[in-house]
Amino acid sequence: MMALLSSLGQIGLFALRILRSLHLPRGQLRDIIRQCYAVGARSLPIVAVGGLFVGLVISLQGYRALEVIGAGSALGTAIGIPLYRELGPVLAAILFCGRAGSSMAAELGLMRATEQITALSMMAIDPVGKVVAPRFVAGVISLPLLTAVFCAFAIFGGYLQAVWVLGVDSGFFWSSLRSSVDLVEDFGQAFTKAAYFGVACSLIATHVGYHAEPTIEGTSVATTRAVVHGSLMVLFLDFILSAILY
């Protein structure tokens, strides 16, 4: 228990250190934009494909369940509500941990092992401000946007399955989706969750990467921790946020 509290304390102090190191002039803004590309834009394919398949499968399973009670035309509702409230933010965050969180941790671990972080410190440049803060900020910005992409592709997948494969009327699909998904209640809260998940995933990934042992094994351990701890934290936070928000 003491070890857990100590770890949480260290992560909290690390977060404060990141926030204190944010000075957008002197090139940091350029580093953040560069990281938004590396962390966000390069995660787009996996998030889009993941969303598409999730949409296809929810549509299929939802239709089978609804058809039993003759409510197949309400499939849009069965896709929209769980997608925006739970599946979209959670699955996008878990994919983000696997793709971008692992990459952040591995990069920082390798920077530690190859003396890049030491070199920055020797040049009187704060390594946290130069290499950690841009990755953290890029993660926080990117995850809500990736969640939007995930949800859009999931709805597209659901539409393809429902209308083209299962024969649900296109008008029924869209009208049930639009009437059930509320802009603030569902759409807004999906982004709220995604923002929290973005902070958690990015903070864990940068923390374990920055503090990795400067060896190949240390980098490997940090990468694994970024994915496992990040994903578990997403599921834990999802429970807490769902209890508070709904």
Binding site: R26, G27, R34, M111, T114, E115, Q116, T118, A119, L120, S121, M122, M123, A124, I125, D126, K130
Partner: protein
């Protein structure tokens, strides 16, 4: 050696350096004179790099007095430490080039962070530093495209870019072929003289380094075992120094590993 302490760029006075409970250096006293190339030699694991960490403020002395460029170490805050580090150039053994930046961006990074110079002036300074290490046309390359010798020269140009009065080299010859070694040694000596620097070269490449050094310090057995000129070192009959200079596998530094605290 007998000049007043004011001319010392680095001064250790009975300094103990520890890592955890382990003593690396005990009661080390030495001076690095301004303007000299000082070689710090010693077998692997003797504590040479620990000495470097103490000079750069990464490791605080457990006891004794350590002064770098007239400032007492350790500094009171991170801000003070960084202010002192701006006056030091450090060439690390692994170079530490940022792999996501080009050669020119790597060299220009300290200028971008620490100065308000306009971009054209920064670019010109970067070009001059690259020219000084013979890589004027390599600015566009990425670190992954460089040979070991070129990467070391780029790291040297980056360490020099703020014109620091003190240069610290940690194993600058490790992993280099003889030609690249010659280039790096010529640069260390040439830049020291032309820019009026003070240089500390931490290495176990004895013969090559003695050719460019004004002053030699040998670290072994948790202390300073020699402090003098290269000529005095070469002529020494001290068994430990002879073992080190002649590369004998056994002697005062035992061939067999023994755990600390156990009798030989």
């Amino acid at each position: 050696m007998n000049e007043p302490a004011a001319s010392a760029a680095i001064r250790f006075d009975r300094v103990d350096l520890k890592r955890g409970a382990r003593t690396i250096l005990r009661e080390a006293s030495l001076e690095v004179r301004r303007g000299d190339v000082t070689a710090v030699l010693g077998p692997s694991g003797a504590g040479k790099s620990t000495l470097l960490y103490a000079i750069t403020g990464e490791l605080a002395p457990a006891s004794g007095t350590l002064e770098v460029l007239g400032e007492r170490m350790p500094r009171r805050s991170g801000r003070e430490l960084f202010a002192l580090r701006r006056k030091m150039g450090v060439l690390l053994q692994g170079n530490g080039l940022l792999t996501d930046l080009s050669v020119a961006e790597n060299i220009g990074l300290p200028l971008r962070v620490h100065t308000d110079l306009p971009a054209p002036v920064r670019d010109e300074l970067v070009r001059m530093k690259l020219a000084a290490v013979g890589l004027a046309e390599a600015g566009h390359l990425m670190p992954q495209e460089l040979s070991g010798g070129m990467a070391r020269r780029v790291a040297l140009a980056r360490a020099l870019v703020l014109d620091p009065p003190l240069m610290l080299y940690d194993e600058p010859l490790t992993g280099l072929d003889p030609i690249a070694c010659g280039v790096i040694l010529a640069l260390i000596r040439g830049l020291n003289d032309s820019l009026g620097l003070t240089s500390v070269v931490i290495t176990h490449h004895v013969r090559e380094t003695l050719e460019i050094a004004d002053h030699v310090i040998v670290v072994a057995n948790h202390g300073i075992v020699f402090d003098g000129t290269p000529e005095q070192l070469v002529q020494s009959d001290e068994p430990l120094l002879r073992q080190f200079l002649d590369g004998q596998p056994d002697g005062p530094i035992a061939f067999d590993y023994r755990r600390e605290g156990r009798a030989a």
